[in-house]
């Protein structure tokens, strides 16, 4: 029983990292109806920015985290400014956005390989490798830290979307870009801001992932897991993406803990196909009106 609780907490902690990335997928999908495949690489580059900042002496770790998050937001914004906006204005079908994102993803992954090499880089561990002992339940401090920070950030994100004027604009553009433009919403600005927001979330997730494991050029593949999570939750729905991510993280840890770590991905992917068959638009699939 104690082991199960331990596994659950680890799973939810991994799931919360997935949730940060998955909500970025959901935000972009809700506005532009395309899957931003370069999002995982934004997460990777954020982690590298943070790593570079820690190499500079006399910079506290908190500041280098901020630099990492800012760098990821900037890269995400550049993607939108340089590539996606032009393709949208060309009047090309949505799938070209996805292909461009795939090209960007290959570019960034190999750029990281060329600049930093394929060796693993280590971010400083704030609490070293410690475990808390709660009545026989062992939990890593890094896990707890990730979980705590992610929860605060995700709640803030939901509040931003549901309570602020910016969130209202995002919802309006998600519902119908053209109508929102007629009603005076500056669409391009909103989209750019959403890309920055998604990039910042991905950067934070990259730093957390880097602290848990390491920083390496192919760590953007965690984006794939997050994408699956956002599909399970229903594309374009932020609460759905968060739920899907936590569910996925939970299932992964339980499967690798109790069945076999080799079968972990097989079971999560089969589950994905199964969910799509039963509920073709995800567990929390939403109407157009309720997107974002």
């Amino acid at each position: 029983m104690k082991i199960l609780i331990q596994q659950m907490i680890t799973g939810i902690s991994i799931g919360s990292v997935y949730a940060l990335i998955a909500s970025g997928y959901a935000l972009v999908y809700s506005l532009l109806d395309f899957s931003n495949w370069a999002h995982g690489e934004v997460c990777m580059l954020g982690a590298y920015c943070c790593f570079m900042a820690t190499m500079v002496p006399k910079i506290p770790f908190a500041l280098s985290c901020v630099i990492g998050i800012g760098g990821a937001a900037l890269i995400s914004l550049l993607n939108e400014k340089i590539a996606y906006r032009r393709i949208r204005n060309n009047g090309s079908p949505n799938m070209f956005l996805m292909i461009a994102a795939m090209g960007l993803s290959t570019t960034y992954q190999n750029l990281a390989n060329v600049i930093w090499g394929s060796k693993f880089k280590q971010l400083p561990k704030i609490f070293s490798v410690m475990t808390l002992n709660l009545n026989g339940i062992f939990i890593g401090t890094t896990d707890m830290l990730c979980l705590g920070v992610a929860l605060v950030v995700l709640i803030a994100l939901l509040l931003i979307i549901n309570k602020t004027k910016f969130g209202l604009h995002v919802q309006a553009v998600a519902c119908s870009g053209r109508t929102a433009r007629i009603l005076g919403v500056r669409i391009d600005r909103i989209i750019a801001l959403v890309f920055m927001l998604a990039g910042a979330l991905a950067g934070l997730a990259g730093i957390m992932y880097g602290m848990k494991y390491n920083v390496y050029p192919t760590m953007g593949n965690v984006g794939l897991k997050a994408f699956i999570a956002s599909v399970i939750g229903g594309l374009g729905s932020v609460p759905g993406a968060i739920m899907g991510a936590i569910l996925l993280g939970f299932i992964e840890t339980v499967v690798s803990g109790y069945i076999s770590s080799g079968l972990r991905d097989l079971i999560s992917f089969s589950l994905l196909i199964l969910i799509l068959l039963v509920r073709p638009s995800g567990l929390f699939g939403v109407d157009v009106q309720e997107k974002a």
Binding site: Y29, F34, S35, A83, R86, I87, N90, S92, M95, F96, M98, I99, A100, M102, G103, L104, S105, T106, T107, Y108, Q109, N110, L111, N113, V114, L224, F227, I228, V231, L235, G262, L263, D265, L266, F269, S270, L272, I273, L276, L277, P280, S281, G282
Partner: protein, 296 residues
């Protein structure tokens, strides 16, 4: 002059060409995206390899069985998932491809697991691969220009209108999916008999997305465009082998640039033909002549 290196390049280009042709029919003509075609390649490769090694079937039979099994799997998967919309279909294919890879890693007795499957006889020479590629191109060309191909294009342009004209959309989409899977399985079987040693990791998501990117780069809705795309994607890395670190970087940048500057791909919705080029040049000349005439 002609050595095994060039032979190998020919095989790699031809094998990829077959898989890309299948992808072209699926993506370029029916506008369905699949990120699971590496999974079908994997199924074809392993089935053909097992047929050759365990059952000592002749080469042609092994390849046929491999392609057929890939087709049957696509039929079963397609029956379940073909009705899913856009990105959901894509992600279910992606999930399938990854499932296949993980499963082959796990079934150590049958496929050798992560250590790979070795001892496959070397059968795919440059000539065999080239013949197969030409054969595949001719079949795909005729298929696209048949009633079925017309139906695919109709579905691509407007699904509702196609259905209103009596095209069974689900059935044709499934047909297109199975066709691409058979081609992928065929390519996989040939690849296995060239490498003589295969691992599940050869057929990962990277391979699937490479197939999609090649198709888009060459141009959607154009078989000759797919041939051009394959030649570029497979040959350029060989030419720039000395820049090994940078070539994947350039490849990524090239994809982004092509999408930005020539969104329809190099030969989008056009087939390459000599007569067409000649007609274009003469037409331009005629226009120039007539313009010149009106001025004077």
């Amino acid at each position: 002059m002609w050595n095994s290196f060039y032979d190998g390049v020919v095989v790699i280009v031809c094998v990829n060409l077959i898989a890309v042709l299948g992808m072209s029919v699926l993506t370029g003509f029916t506008r369905l995206f699949s990120f699971g075609n590496a999974g079908f390649m994997s199924i074809g490769a392993y089935t053909a390899a097992i047929c050759s090694v365990q059952f000592h079937l002749p080469f042609v039979c092994s390849i046929t069985v491999g392609a057929a099994v890939a087709g049957v799997m696509a039929f079963l998967l397609g029956s379940l998932t073909i009705r899913l919309r856009g990105d959901y279909f894509l992600i279910s294919c992606l999930g399938f491809g990854e499932c296949v890879r993980v499963l082959f890693n796990y079934t150590r007795n049958l496929t050798g697991g992560a250590n790979g499957y070795s001892g496959i006889p070397y059968r795919t020479t440059g000539i065999v691969a080239l013949m197969c590629a030409i054969f595949a191109f001719v079949i795909a060309w005729n298929f696209i220009h048949s009633r079925y191909g017309q139906a695919f294009s109709a579905i691509r342009e407007n699904e509702v209108a196609a259905a209103a004209n009596g095209i069974n959309v689900v059935r044709y989409k499934k047909l297109s999916f199975v066709f691409s899977a058979i081609y992928a399985g065929w390519a996989g079987g040939l690849y296995a008999h060239y490498l003589q040693y295969i691992t599940p990791g050869l057929f990962n998501i990277g391979k699937s997305s490479e197939l999609v990117i090649t198709t888009v780069l060459g141009g959607l809705g154009s078989l000759t465009g797919s041939v051009l795309g394959t030649l570029i994607v497979q040959l350029l890395p060989e030419i720039f082998r000395s820049l090994s670190e940078y070539r994947m970087l350039f490849y990524g940048i090239a994809v982004v640039l092509v999408i930005l500057l020539r969104p329809a791909g190099l030969l989008g919705y056009k087939e390459f033909s000599l007569t067409g080029i000649i007609r274009r040049i003469t037409a331009k000349r005629k226009v120039q002549n007539s313009e010149g005439g009106s001025k004077s």
